[in-house]
Symmetry: C2
Amino acid sequence: MTSLNNTTNQQLTPSKRSQIKRLPKRGNYETQAIYNILDEALICHVGFTVNNQPFVIPTAYGRVDDKLYIHGSPASRMLRTLNQGIEVCVTVTLLDGLVLARSAFHHSMNYRSVVIFGTAMLVTDTEEKYEALRAFTEHVVSKRWQEVRQPHKQELQGTMVLSLTLTEASAKVRTGNPVDDEADYDLPVWAGVLPLQMLPGKAIDDERLIEGIEVPDYIKNYARHSSTK
Amino acid sequence: MTSLNNTTNQQLTPSKRSQIKRLPKRGNYETQAIYNILDEALICHVGFTVNNQPFVIPTAYGRVDDKLYIHGSPASRMLRTLNQGIEVCVTVTLLDGLVLARSAFHHSMNYRSVVIFGTAMLVTDTEEKYEALRAFTEHVVSKRWQEVRQPHKQELQGTMVLSLTLTEASAKVRTGNPVDDEADYDLPVWAGVLPLQMLPGKAIDDERLIEGIEVPDYIKNYARHSSTK
């Protein structure tokens, strides 16, 4: 397994399980491509197995360098199970558009996804845990952490944080136009791409908000950083 | 397990694995609530296990009554594996907003998710397969199927379709404002909800589109049907 750092264009060596099997030309093992997808998406789907039964649970996450963090209550079945050191698969998917072909068969979607394999580690170091919590908040809304009340000791203790090292991961990306059968290009059917994006609406004040507090600029101008669309 | 039909307000009996463990007040076993989420979302995350290794793969899907269909090439590792009758977990998640509390600890997200358990069945009946393919297309863009070239025999044969019966499923929903610690409501920090929605951009014509073909109204006015936000 390649060890990672922050430089761009670094490649992960695909393992047996992280290697893209179907449509390998859509595969990408560059760490920066993987990080960009992880940083833009808001939720991941965590897969784990108990007695041969797979579970897939959506959850928030944060990233610091080559570590992905998930967190929750110590009562969470998912976290308690993952903390037993079992294999985990974490998948993050960004949907970028509908690909509308001239035939039903060639309809598709433009997307960017990352699949990560590994085993999760319990974060016990207080400083790393604190940084992980900062990463969760900043991942969702940049500039938020410095404005809000930061976690006190009981909250830190009452939060379970697990880390997953981003060594065995791959990205898969589809972009661009539909690919139709040659004979179908003459059909009088509209074809193309309908781009899709996760966009914010108007911020809704909490009903107990203190009078006179304005919506911050980082909320007014909120956007997920779009990279390779 | 309750058997399902199309009536609303029908309840599924939670099984040991489909019962919501964490925050059970967010749980919902009504079939219509589950169907609404499935019909609005565009992709699901399919979880399965091979030699204790979980895999989570994003894919498109369609629904007809109490059946969820996934499809792909017969060369797909996921489909071939699921066709062995192993346990599967399919999860669908809609992100509805960011929940911005006065403390980092109470930040959350508004979402609607569905988790389905079961085993997938190969669809061999030609008519059911054809209806499943129609459901895939219509799920993505309503009114599209009748306009495009429909699958011919080789395409039908070259598509593997699996069905999952929606008997063991649950929905989980969070809505509304942040819930802060009582003492934090006095903090001079903006709090509230930033709604998020998957929205279409401007349709992009395929570069080989026949001249004079306009973007159809069902694309111009495209929206995912929003239910309980």
